[in-house]
């Protein structure tokens, strides 16, 4: 396996700007035309716990993180202790030599078992349990150590700008770490400065001071370490790198495009970022036809609209408000994660019973219960498929990467509205909180399909409209509340065509078949291309079945395996319900060796595949330690399986 990308990591105390530095690093790389993939890890904490950011940079497409750290940038002690030994041989560690005396036992945020393990390693090596010791151990293991005198650099820069406040200077630590990293990599100084200036553009003085800090760091590295690090990073002229995005934002933008005009939410990690983005962008430009067509429709030209974004009192209210919006004919959605979704089960059933379109974006995080609120897991699939008592139709759609999350969001509203059925869109936390460069998005590729949506009622009898009228497809024309020409009713009870309560057994059979039959209809109508991705050769040594955010790591691993002569193909299920049974069964029946890969304990999708196809899938690769799967891990796992050395349930364990 030969990686030709570069993996950079920065860490620090939560709230001290780790995010900012990573963003500056990533944007500076991206603005040089490089592909970037960033992954953040943090505790469920506001300030004080350790957090770190890993940024992978490459000239070619990348879609995942790796375990290897090529360069670790630090400016405080905890990051050194936690990550120094992850740096590969010949990799680099940037650190502040002033930290040398800091002792491991002075850091209360390090877990007892992590501390014990480090202490053991250090004492085995005869080293002291302080920064000096750990840095020395890393050096012995082959890392290049780059001490950077942060304070001297900062004081000099401060002096130039008349800034003496220690805390103001400290706020530039990140930028110095980033700049020192780039300097070691020989990356274009001006690109970095431009990136820094852009980041601080709202505060010009700060921007200039930070740009100077970049210069100072470059100067220092140039003087002391010129050419000492072998990996070089340089901007590329033209690539398809156009955007730098994060999962939540992709979904939010797509909701506006899809015509979502009511978003409800109750704060929860990692979902609320999406709603807060929408709140901040709730005025919507409605001249969208101009996107594709310069002769935009006059109706729309220059008109503005609004998305109502509402913080509710709980998730029961969030989902039922959204259903209310759906009843009123407005594309409505709510975003949440596990605990909130658990409170939505009853509401979902109501939407199913009353054939109300509503989209629930489920940002899946580490469960069960409060679980690991800021960590990763694909643990909610089975619950999404069965949430709510009784039987009602629902769509479950799971996206695998940021671009998919964008287009799937629009499809989510289309499916939901066309089939008048609630839809759960699973975006796992590894997507929601990862950043990535990508090529441009094309809003003109998107079509809105509202299905049998009436603007006026013409079929009312005596003013009463049959909302649930018998039709051959099971889909009845739908008039929003407020439509002129008639009225109708809704009830959570079984009901007749008008929406009135009915306990009649004949009507009951009809209504059950009407509702559930819509899933069969959707199964027939929605093209396979929107439901399953199939990658790799038809005929391969290994067939991988997976879903959601593991997609990127699997695709990256597939390329490495190909270099090793192992061919892999990959069935990525996106629309889990209605399940594309026939297509998947056909692919699986041709497979030589099937491997289920999931970021959960019980391989939930594989259970669904077994249930639907009755094809046994015995080989599993799972991970449930709260950390996402890396491409390296998947590469290793598939290789082991190929070589016949893997247990039936291979549990991946990497992560800090």
């Amino acid at each position: 396996m030969k990686r030709d990308d570069f993996s950079w990591m920065i860490g620090g105390v939560q709230g001290s700007g780790v995010d900012t530095s990573a963003t500056i690093f990533a944007r500076a790389a991206a603005s040089g035309g490089l592909h970037v993939f960033g992954k953040r890890e943090y505790y469920s904490n506001i300030k004080g716990e350790h957090s770190y950011f890993q940024v992978r940079v490459s000239k070619g497409t990348i879609r995942s993180h790796v375990d290897t750290v090529d360069m670790l940038a630090t400016f405080e002690e905890e990051t050194i202790f936690r990550h120094a030994l992850e740096v590969r041989s010949e990799g680099a560690i940037i650190y502040d030599p002033d930290q040398d005396p800091k002792r491991l036992d002075q850091i209360p945020t390090v877990e007892a078992n992590v501390r014990a393990a480090l202490n053991a390693e250090l004492s085995k090596a005869g080293l002291s349990a302080d920064v000096k010791g750990i840095v020395e151990l890393a050096r012995r293991r082959g890392a290049h150590i780059y001490p950077i005198p942060y304070n001297t650099i900062l004081k000099d820069v401060g002096a130039k700008h008349g800034e003496t406040s220690l805390s103001a200077l400290q706020r530039m630590l990140n930028v110095v770490a980033v700049a020192a990293s780039f300097a070691l990599l020989g990356y274009d100084e001006e690109v970095v400065k431009a990136s820094v200036r852009n980041h601080f553009r709202s505060k010009p003085k700060v921007a200039e001071m930070n740009a100077d800090a970049v210069g100072a760091a470059y100067d220092h590295v140039g003087q002391k370490y010129a050419g000492s690090f072998s990996y070089r990073l340089s901007p590329m002229k033209s690539t398809d790198v156009k955007l730098f995005v994060r999962g939540n934002t992709m979904v939010a933008m797509a909701k506006e495009l899809a015509g979502c005009r009511l978003q409800t939410y109750y704060p929860i990690t990692p979902a609320s970022d999406e709603s807060e983005y929408l709140e901040a962008h709730s005025e919507i430009q409605l001249d969208g036809a101009a996107q594709g067509d310069p002769q935009a429709s006059e109706v729309a030209a220059m008109k503005k609209g609004s998305i109502a974004v509402v913080q509710s009192e709980d998730e029961i209210a969030a989902v039922t408000m959204a259903i209310g919006g759906g009843l009123a004919g407005v594309r409505s959605s709510t975003s949440t994660s596990g605990p909130g979704f658990s409170l939505m089960a009853e509401g979902l059933g109501y939407a199913g019973m009353n054939e109300v379109p509503v989209v629930v974006t489920l940002y899946s995080r580490g469960g069960p219960s409060t679980g690991l609120p800021t960590r990763h897991e694909q643990g909610d699939l089975r619950f999404a498929l069965h949430a709510g008592h009784g039987e009602f139709p629902r769509f479950v759609l799971a996206s695998g990467d940021l671009e998919e999350a964008f287009y799937d969001t629009v499809r989510a509203f289309n499916y939901s509205e066309k089939y008048q059925t609630p839809l759960i869109h699973i975006v796992d936390k590894a997507l929601a909180n990862s950043d990535s460069t990508m090529s441009a998005l094309d809003p003109t590729k998107v079509k809105i399909d509202r299905g049998a949506f009436l603007n006026e009622i013409t079929t009312a009898v005596n003013g009463e409209f049959k909302r649930f009228q018998h039709t051959p497809t099971g889909v009845s024309p739908r008039a929003p509340l407020g439509t002129k020409g008639g009225v109708n009713w809704y009830t959570g009870d079984e009901h007749d065509e008008l929406g009135h309560i009915s306990e009649d057994p004949v009507n009951r059979d009809y209504m059950m078949e009407k509702r559930m039959g819509k899933l069969d209809l959707a199964d027939r109508e929605i093209p396979i291309s929107e439901r399953v991705n199939f990658f790799g050769p038809e005929d391969a040594d290994i067939t991988v079945v997976s879903w959601g955010s593991t997609k990127g790591a699997i695709l990256d691993a597939m390329e490495w395996l190909k270099q090793d002569g192992i061919t892999v193909n990959f069935i990525q299920v996106r629309l889990v319900n209605p399940f594309p049974t026939e297509y998947v069964a056909r692919l699986l029946s041709k497979a030589k060796r099937i491997v289920g890969i999931e970021m959960n304990y019980s391989a939930q999708l594989i259970g669904v595949v077994r249930e639907r196809t009755c094809i046994p899938i015995e080989q599993l690769v799972v991970k449930y330690n709260g950390r996402p799967m890396s491409s390296e891990e998947i590469y290793g796992a598939l290789k082991m399986i190929y070589e016949g050395n893997a247990p039936k349930k291979l549990v991946l364990k990497h992560g800090a």
Partner: protein
């Protein structure tokens, strides 16, 4: 064309018990809507689950019979989506202040422009007469095997504490007065709460029609004194007349104190009314002006060929590398 009462009746069969107080409330709502000459297709009655919550099926406007305890958030979603619709919420006391108490309290913070009517029968009718949150400690209705072991909630006080801007009480057998209250509640610009005393002859033999009529409550001459009276007739004025905070505070306090009267002299009428509080719609529009001019339900979202109308290029610009 004026709306007739009969225009508001539906074909659905009404299965409330004979003599149920719900009938009076239903009539009063229909009378109010007829008198206001509302557009039935621009009006929606939203309810929870319970005997009382079957009410939308009997009114020929749009009707949404939702989940137990969730009438308010459903209605909230409808109103947010279509602020120009007339939204009336109805439900039981268990529905609204038992399982629904969280919404009751928190929706008070929003001041959405709608009316919420609680059918206050002090029991859980549809599940066979268990104690509702309004039944007093130690009370034993005929449906209970032993006296109630919970204290009761005073709906008026709770509504005041929650921030409703119009708070009133009616009685289901005083249909005309109730109808007038409903009209006022609908006309109020903001979130209106109407508690309606509703006898449940099947399960509650304490707060019965006879009780409210004054059974056992005799004056010196042995004449029955009804247990309700109209506050306004007794000189009470719950209306906030200026937005001076001192006046507002005074009126809030007055309403809270008034809410203590219950039992032998139970006030009916408007405890509190404040038209000076911005509605939630106003507040949303403060943030996004188009919410008023082009609210969600009025917005087109696509051209006939399905091309989306939202232009997100400015959002994409922010993400350019």
């Amino acid at each position: 064309m004026a709306l007739k009462l009969s225009d508001l009746k539906t074909s659905a069969h009404n299965d409330w018990c004979p003599g149920c107080g719900d009938f009076g409330i239903l009539n009063a709502v229909q009378m109010a809507l007829a008198e206001m000459n509302v557009d039935p297709s621009n009006t929606v009655v939203v309810s929870g689950v319970g005997c009382s919550s079957k009410v939308p099926h009997f009114i020929k406007t749009y009707g949404v019979h939702t989940l137990h305890g969730r009438a308010i958030p459903f209605a909230t979603g409808i109103k947010l989506a279509n602020p120009n619709m007339e939204v009336i919420v109805e439900g039981g006391d268990g529905d609204g202040m038992g399982i629904g108490a969280g919404h009751f309290v928190n929706s008070g913070r929003r001041n959405l422009d709608m009316l919420y009517i609680i059918h206050d029968n002090e029991v859980y009718g549809l599940t066979k007469g268990q104690a509702a949150p309004t039944l007093g400690l130690g009370k034993k209705t005929k449906s209970l095997p032993s006296p109630n072991i919970n204290q009761s909630i005073n709906p008026i006080m709770l509504a005041m504490a929650s921030g409703y801007t119009w708070v009133a009480r009616g009685y289901s057998y005083d249909v005309r007065h109730l109808k007038d209250l409903i009209i006022k509640g609908i006309r109020h610009k903001g979130y209106a709460f109407l508690d309606v005393l509703q006898p449940c002859p099947t399960y509650n033999d304490i707060q019965s029609k006879e009780y409210w009529a004054g059974e056992g409550n005799l004056d010196a001459a042995g004449k029955q004194l009804p247990r309700t009276y109209k506050m306004e007739e007794a000189g009470y004025d719950g209306v906030v007349h200026s937005d001076d905070p001192a006046e507002v505070e005074r009126k809030v306090q007055q309403a809270m104190l008034k809410s203590f009267e219950f039992g032998d002299r139970t006030p009916l009428g408007v405890f509190y009314q404040n038209e000076f509080v911005s509605t939630y719609g106003d507040r949303l529009a403060g943030h996004s002006p188009s919410y008023k001019t082009n609210p969600p339900a009025a917005q087109e979202i696509a051209l006939p060929d399905g091309a989306p109308l939202a232009n997100i290029s400015r959002l994409l610009d922010d993400l350019k590398v």
